[in-house]
Symmetry: D3
Subunit: 332 residues, 6 copies
Amino acid sequence: MSRILTMGEIMLRLSTSNDCRLSEAKQLQVNYGGAEANVAISLANFNHQVSFASKVPNNPLGNAAKKHLHRFGVSTEFLLFGGARLGSYYLENGVGERSSSVIYDRAHSSFTEMERLEWSMDELFHDVELFHVSGITPALSAGWATMTHHLMKEAKKRQVKISFDINYRGKLWSYPEAGKVLATLLPYVDYCSAGKLDAINLLGIEEHELDDLSSYYEQINKIYPNIEVFYSTLRVINSTSDHTLVGTIWSNGSLYRSKKHYLAPIIDRVGGGDAFSAGTLHGILSKCDFDYTVSFATAAAALKHTIYGDCNQFSIEEVEEFMNRQDQRIIR
Amino acid sequence: MSRILTMGEIMLRLSTSNDCRLSEAKQLQVNYGGAEANVAISLANFNHQVSFASKVPNNPLGNAAKKHLHRFGVSTEFLLFGGARLGSYYLENGVGERSSSVIYDRAHSSFTEMERLEWSMDELFHDVELFHVSGITPALSAGWATMTHHLMKEAKKRQVKISFDINYRGKLWSYPEAGKVLATLLPYVDYCSAGKLDAINLLGIEEHELDDLSSYYEQINKIYPNIEVFYSTLRVINSTSDHTLVGTIWSNGSLYRSKKHYLAPIIDRVGGGDAFSAGTLHGILSKCDFDYTVSFATAAAALKHTIYGDCNQFSIEEVEEFMNRQDQRIIR
Amino acid sequence: MSRILTMGEIMLRLSTSNDCRLSEAKQLQVNYGGAEANVAISLANFNHQVSFASKVPNNPLGNAAKKHLHRFGVSTEFLLFGGARLGSYYLENGVGERSSSVIYDRAHSSFTEMERLEWSMDELFHDVELFHVSGITPALSAGWATMTHHLMKEAKKRQVKISFDINYRGKLWSYPEAGKVLATLLPYVDYCSAGKLDAINLLGIEEHELDDLSSYYEQINKIYPNIEVFYSTLRVINSTSDHTLVGTIWSNGSLYRSKKHYLAPIIDRVGGGDAFSAGTLHGILSKCDFDYTVSFATAAAALKHTIYGDCNQFSIEEVEEFMNRQDQRIIR
Amino acid sequence: MSRILTMGEIMLRLSTSNDCRLSEAKQLQVNYGGAEANVAISLANFNHQVSFASKVPNNPLGNAAKKHLHRFGVSTEFLLFGGARLGSYYLENGVGERSSSVIYDRAHSSFTEMERLEWSMDELFHDVELFHVSGITPALSAGWATMTHHLMKEAKKRQVKISFDINYRGKLWSYPEAGKVLATLLPYVDYCSAGKLDAINLLGIEEHELDDLSSYYEQINKIYPNIEVFYSTLRVINSTSDHTLVGTIWSNGSLYRSKKHYLAPIIDRVGGGDAFSAGTLHGILSKCDFDYTVSFATAAAALKHTIYGDCNQFSIEEVEEFMNRQDQRIIR
Amino acid sequence: MSRILTMGEIMLRLSTSNDCRLSEAKQLQVNYGGAEANVAISLANFNHQVSFASKVPNNPLGNAAKKHLHRFGVSTEFLLFGGARLGSYYLENGVGERSSSVIYDRAHSSFTEMERLEWSMDELFHDVELFHVSGITPALSAGWATMTHHLMKEAKKRQVKISFDINYRGKLWSYPEAGKVLATLLPYVDYCSAGKLDAINLLGIEEHELDDLSSYYEQINKIYPNIEVFYSTLRVINSTSDHTLVGTIWSNGSLYRSKKHYLAPIIDRVGGGDAFSAGTLHGILSKCDFDYTVSFATAAAALKHTIYGDCNQFSIEEVEEFMNRQDQRIIR
Amino acid sequence: MSRILTMGEIMLRLSTSNDCRLSEAKQLQVNYGGAEANVAISLANFNHQVSFASKVPNNPLGNAAKKHLHRFGVSTEFLLFGGARLGSYYLENGVGERSSSVIYDRAHSSFTEMERLEWSMDELFHDVELFHVSGITPALSAGWATMTHHLMKEAKKRQVKISFDINYRGKLWSYPEAGKVLATLLPYVDYCSAGKLDAINLLGIEEHELDDLSSYYEQINKIYPNIEVFYSTLRVINSTSDHTLVGTIWSNGSLYRSKKHYLAPIIDRVGGGDAFSAGTLHGILSKCDFDYTVSFATAAAALKHTIYGDCNQFSIEEVEEFMNRQDQRIIR
């Protein structure tokens, strides 16, 4: 059976309850996550064989990250131990009109400070069908921009499909910096998570008519005809606690949309996009049709918002039961 | 002063907070409840003298169930101690689009395994004015279907009024099984909680025009002219966290409706129907008019949704203060 | 640099979580607050030099109140230690249709039982630019009605500006009692927080056309031409968990209104008005224009509702960032 | 079946965990208790029919006190509702060398402010076999000193046995004040809990040879020959967390001692004496011999120290199982 | 690399904090464990490849048990899903003189109700070096007594070493019942955990001189010369919170003893024996000498008592660091 | 009134409860502390005017550190805001035989990365009577070794007394590194906290007879005759939960010893030495005799071990009440 490989940083997240400011908190909730680790866990929940490659310190926090991945069945064969520290971030959870805010404390982490790819490429990609990485990884350092490019080249050499989630983070790099790196990566990408703002801000597509998402994808696709699938969510933010979410998948000139999900109240917004990515990749790998896939992926993303923690914890059966439900009656 | 008797199973409920899946929970909230126990407690809060008859194991969990009833002033004179275990269930509390779900672990409980009525009928019904039981009790076993029938007969012999809440649970029996047993019980019932779906699925009434609830009750009433009062709630489920609730009482050809309550956010949905039942029975026993009764009962049910735990904890004065409030301003 | 002085009672607040009744609570959250203490803390957060004058018992609870003020940088030079007890109150937090309710246990407190002003007036008002007090203080006792009047006279003698928040509490005094005392105080007031109901119930203004707030202020202003600024919030209470809030400032014939804030869900409603008062006073002291001031003050009040505890904890920069935000996206 | 009556104040206790000072506590544990209420609950656990007479405010805290008593099966027929407030106290739990400390906030409570006995004496003592009260009750006010005396007279008129626990509290009255009142009460007492220090400080017995407890009892007995039984515990305090406890009962010239219990670590020391009192009274009422009784009562007291809260929660069977255990092996 | 296989029941454990009785608990801590599962996890922590074979229901609790095993790297290839329920037990944690107590609710579990071995023996024992099972498994039912025997025969056929921990549980079977079954199993056992009481009560060895443990082992060894190693702990129980522990290993006529560990305070006593078993098996499999092995295994058992939960969580390095420490100074 | 100045790093401490390993923790307790900050807070509790100089990032964590200092009345006039991050450390709290362990994550902090003293020396030392710093500060970087030296020179220039706590941390520097730097600092020191091991390992004093602490101090004193007072604690570690503590002060050839304190159980060992330092400095500044001072300081240190968090929270009165107590009886 072929495998999925995701690579990126896994961090310690320390978060407040939503009624308390970080500066007043007497205790913090502990969680471990990162874009690619979250995708790995979701895909493992969907019965795929998944490895997560990263580097964490050889201390209890690195060990905790490993156990978190193990818990959900993600292989840590390519999780390296070493370096100085586990990247961390503080999440002050907002509510209503007050936004959530993040304080990164991820500099000098074991993963960020990696200067070379410490794995054998042959072992890393052995039997791998799909490689998924997000735009956070190349944003971490100049080295990681180069290493991400190198990984994609190595993957492609081995006929591995590549999924890339642009996942732009303004605290890590600027639009021009990101745009330059993305231009080196997108030629390798098969499945790309990007939205209208990514198109305009990072890929140089000119802004035009509202919500005509397809035309943006078409224009990107002209530049990067290798991209088979674009996937993204349209999120309307009524308040920190109340969003609506519609998923979209574009492929071969057609745009598929999920129904609209009402996310209210939101328990934890972090990782919603990763859940959607995993749902989309599950559909693609399982050769489901795009109507099903976009519905499944958006349902998975909607469910993610209802539980605490970065990573989605629902099985295929649970996501499907949720997709098919008429109402929220208790079954008893 | 005459008494009220309710009978049924009381269970240990172990529930998650609404941000955490059961499989990830590190701690569970403990509660004790069951349809008839909940009604007993509400009625005791409304100053009635109430006994709850059941059987629990002679261990700390059985003891805890007894203390829970005592706390609210319910008599446990007819609570038997013995048998193997306290039935329990796990409640994974949902939120927003994610439903709550229940895992029953109630098989082989002390109550379910009862094979005969271990009380003296004369003592049990001594001075009893009203006997209340729900459809969960006859659903537990063939023995309990028969015993419920026997209890109703014994009650009727002694001029005890009978309240019966159909309370259909799909995890306990099928429509045809339930329908067959209900046909043996309904001839004894004076006050019956039933809704449109019960009429159609269980009592063989043909479906017709939307929401014409009266006509369903009239048809049931033709079959069971002994039923003086039908009571029920109309619940619109916008999401797990957001319902509206309207209470109805039908009697003698007239339908009485409460105002619409907006339940958002819902803290705990379990026991909402039992709170309505208790409110209705309180109105009937206190000889209040039906307009007041349906308003009071629905107000009680609405309040129940705002607190954690199965059982309602509001007094007559508190329910009435709530009914008469103009807004939710803090009084200070 | 000149100082702000606020004076009043600081109390221990013991509150339930919003899913639990007070009579069932196994633990209570601890907080310290009071109208004038809350205003003091907010103003200290806005970089003003603030003293809070009061009296607390010389025990761990009095000490905790002092530490609470210190934490936010409020001077306790004029916080006296002595007397019998710290006033306290119990807050049963409501949710949805269920209101929050307060049980006061503030009688016989160190502050309430004060029979004379134990400070030197010269020291108390030394270098003070603004004195703020609420209508709760004169409501505590006949002595405090007189002492409040005396304090205002002493302040005015020294050219100290006076801010007064009517803050009517029906559990402390009746409309006629309050009206009589207010009539002795208002001639000294420069900035007055009052609403339409205060005008009608306490100041003898006749009720007229809906929401024509300006005309009420104009009428009060005719009686008390010394009042330069009226400030108030218009709160629409959809449920305990869901309000809208608009702030207003009236000055010199013009009414300034903030945009409408949607407060849902509300984490803690107590202290919302105090946050607005502090925001208004900050604007006045900083010589901001009224459009900015009313926006700033209402934004501060809106933020207050999103955190637990009586006192607002946001800095000028944080309130302004909030005012200028387009949506509630996480910044990362 | 005859009843037991206890009377006294029941208070709200707010306590810290033992790692946190009261002035730093963010939450407080809630408990309800008082010497006589604790004895009532223990005796109800031992299957006696017990009433607790007191007065509490008609608010959620008074209601919570009632529910607490109900939970353990104590009758509240003679619990009056009215007055201003529930007495409360704050308990800062110590550990190791740091003592626990109590801040009383019990002045002006509904019970303390009672000026006359609001019960019918005939109803109160109807069918009562034993009346138990502690020295805290007459210490509360001059009125309560008189009323306690009156109650004892009324009890004795009706052949009710009287148990009295001297329970001296230095924060409530001085030795001379207490001594004077005790002299009016002891002539009515049948069973008296008193220790050597009580004899010396309150009853005017001259201090003599160490630990010759019998001789003190003999001297008191000469003055009050009506006292049939003295009961007391000898507690050696190694640290706040580590005590040893030996129980003693004196009757008719003989002193009975329990084995020594090692209380380490102590979970909650409050109520240990009340548990011993209840155990002793249970033995006397059940006509057990004094060797058994002193062992039972001390075992009950030892168990009390291992659980949180004022009141003991163990049944006769559990206390006996504890008395007869060889070691602390888990039974499984 | 060869594998270890353990088999048995994994249960949901619901436990109280040590200051609260089960009947008063408002929440319960959730843990998953069982003798053989605990051994599996400890061995996985010691870098062995371990599988745990069992059967759990296909519901969130079964899923949670699986995730618990995954977290520590135990393979669940042979964990079957099906049957009615997960066995559970309630643990009321004691303290000081009060014992911990267990209420089993394990009847009718998916594992207990198994009637045949649903695995292929060839797959189950493929590449297995060691099979470990405890006496709890054959105690569950007559079927499991037979199936355990069958498993041992199948293991032996394939040259798999067998470790057996007698682990007598009086709540599951009587001495004679156990003795009869053990007689069928011990002929297959290579490494046996048994103590003096097991020898006397179960294996028919006559009691003789105190603490001469070797002679008991010698006598058992005469009957079952196949047993190469006996391992056991000598536990002195000073109180629930305070034990001492010495480990022993007997082999080939020699008895090896660890130093004495002082366990005070004990955080969680459950699983201490399993940690010792795992430590012993680790030493044997790693071909360490018995002096090291008994020290290592007892150190692991001592560490287990300092953390909450059934399963030990320490690595080889951590156990060794603990063995070699001079004192408990913080390293910083 | 003259002031005290302390300077050093203040860190975020994230700690587990003592029953849970860091890698399993779902939440962490939040605290702020550091050797010099802890001393500052203790001295402020003893009514001294204290400033703490340091640098923290301009984010919620830096703000929280400031609020923590404010809470206890420490001036933050010299607390700079800037730099990248707040140093942090993780504390896995041990129990019994299991040690506590610390994972530092303090590299690259705002304070450590300081390259020059950003304060005006004149302002910093204005009116300062005593400057206290620990050996952790010069250990942070070569720059800080130089800057500490510079600060001492500047202090001495202004007749400021200098207190220095050697506080050797093996994770920050080696013995030779430390020894070299100490040699540059000790010539400025008036009051020095050092123990026998410091003398031997860092100051080159030869080891000799056990416990003859005076002779070590005499030898150091010969080299550094400027040191007027040596202060230290002798700690016997029976287990992580159980220590004994004796304080010592040496001055002018005489050694003063406190009584022995029994610390069992220990709630939080971190900051015990800082509490002793603060107690000693309080005695010196208040011109108390050394017998009182060593008793006071050791009592303060003993109390520190009974509460959670780095900083001691007891007033002079509370420490003295503790010193003078006969036993741990509750006062009530």
